[in-house]
Point group: C2
Chain length 333, copies 2
Amino acid sequence: MSTLIVIGLSAVVVAIRDGEAVVLTVRPHDPLTGEASTLAGLPFGPFDPDGHRTFELALRAFVTEQTRFDLGYVEQLYTFGDKGRDAPLADVGAGAARVISVGYLALTPVPVDTSAPDTAWSSWSRFFPWEDWRQGRPILIDEAIAPALRNWASAGRGDEGERRLDRARTLFALDGALWNEERVLERYELLYEAGLAPEAARDRDRAWGLPAPEPQALSPAFGEPMISDHRRILATGLGRLRGKLKYRPVVFELTAPTFTLSELQRTVEAVAGVKLHKQNFRRVLDRTGLVEGLGRYDVETGGRPAELFRFCREQLQNRSTLGLSLPLIRDGS
Amino acid sequence: MSTLIVIGLSAVVVAIRDGEAVVLTVRPHDPLTGEASTLAGLPFGPFDPDGHRTFELALRAFVTEQTRFDLGYVEQLYTFGDKGRDAPLADVGAGAARVISVGYLALTPVPVDTSAPDTAWSSWSRFFPWEDWRQGRPILIDEAIAPALRNWASAGRGDEGERRLDRARTLFALDGALWNEERVLERYELLYEAGLAPEAARDRDRAWGLPAPEPQALSPAFGEPMISDHRRILATGLGRLRGKLKYRPVVFELTAPTFTLSELQRTVEAVAGVKLHKQNFRRVLDRTGLVEGLGRYDVETGGRPAELFRFCREQLQNRSTLGLSLPLIRDGS
DNA sequence: TCAAAAGTGTTATCCTTACACCCATGT
DNA sequence: ACATGGGTGTAAGGATAACACTTTTGA
């Protein structure tokens, strides 16, 4: 009998908590031992072709069930089907199955504390510590990542070495190259290829029929691994969200109904992982006409009270420029 | 026994022929009668979980097999899984199966004439005649589409009617709204929802267990239908390509190794479906540094010979602005 | 009074848009 | 000579980036 196909739906559920971008994670239980996994995963579940009319409905249903949480904005990310990077062959009735992952991105304004067990909000710099440039260039890039990548590049034979070095340079902003915050997935894939992501060693061992390796004490510079291909899906989600910020008004899916402009800016910064220029951010923002001052003020800010704003959803229709540009800061401040 | 899942891979293979954007289409044969379908389809094939390591490899293999054509640039588009809009329930050994469509976009420089039977290059304005604004606003929008959509909108009860009208206006640039060439899929989906795409009637009938309806003489303004959900995938591909043009140098996947700047412009225009401003297109282009004059000239242009250019692939690495902006023309000329 | 955070004004620079014009070829 | 398409220069307007500065609160 031929291998069955099983479709697994995974969700990257993003929210902002205390100025940090967080993602909903679960600790899945081993079906045999009943023990919770040491590795985090994304909320996921199988797609049932008999019960579910669409992927999105299925996703909403099982995320609510697993995490007691209702999704708002949802979009499809990517479908992963590579052999060897899927979940371990699942036992489905008659035999082994090939698992195809359909990843989704979901945005939600308030990270309501889920009372569901083994469910948590995790900052995504836990999984991608090199992606946070808000405090300037992360030291771990030059101290840990760059040397490891250069070492990997020099092991390439012929001009393969040169190509590896080129990729490392442009993706991780080495030797004067510019940082591009959108290329999250490419960076993760480079680390995976270079064998620096713990998942790479695990997948390689499994392909050779070896037992799952012991959790190793790998450098924290390469981020905390996740089960299955979930970190790959998470990277896809972060990259997509960072890109989309600039051409669709998706930030407002992450904010409360009213917010101060500084809160909004901190939200964008948490997602994009870079610091923005305050004045220019505001100028750019009100040219879009997407926010409206309410004449009410938040006094809890520590200094001068900030005006509260709201998102004008009705303005959304015929605007041509539907996103926020990111007025970066290059020097200090 | 529960419904099996089958994964179908479909490819939107795009090329430029005589200044027109064309797409590779097939006429699939009925497995029972052996007759070629009256409707066109995209090249497609099932994904075999035993034989194929990745989707992309599977796709390349069967496109080459079906059409005797080798794909170059390939990217995943979207995975469709809606019940009722998939292919008719396929017979797979033991029982019925639910077909999940994974759509891909492929770009190829020369539309080599495929000698494969029932394979052809079709201009995509056959399927989306309202998408070509190079000769100005297509008359069929105001003569056929707008009246039909207004009629549909007025049938909505409550503020549903208002919402329908709003969508029609912004998507089809009615009542002074601006045309946004990227929203191809949303326009097709609107026509589908409004019951103006022939596929909608077909899917509706099938859901009720009725036999496939006779091919109707529907207005050509709504485009030629395709089998299964292939026109939806095609719309996704056109939209994605139009968007990507602006931020990645994908045009060069559609051009010959050397080209004149006018050829390049006509290629962009054929894809984007709008006329561009010649001088500004050139200025924008050479600021990117992506093309290089060769000092050789094409004398076949009819007027002054045009310089030949080539794409500088090596420049591709560290550029920040990797696409072409579209300097539109608003007035005549 | 001072620190902290909110909010305003102004300028130089760059990019986009639009317009006008010149160049090289075939008929 | 002139039609046809290729190619260049320049000036106006708008957007961006960077700068300095004022305002309002709490400690």
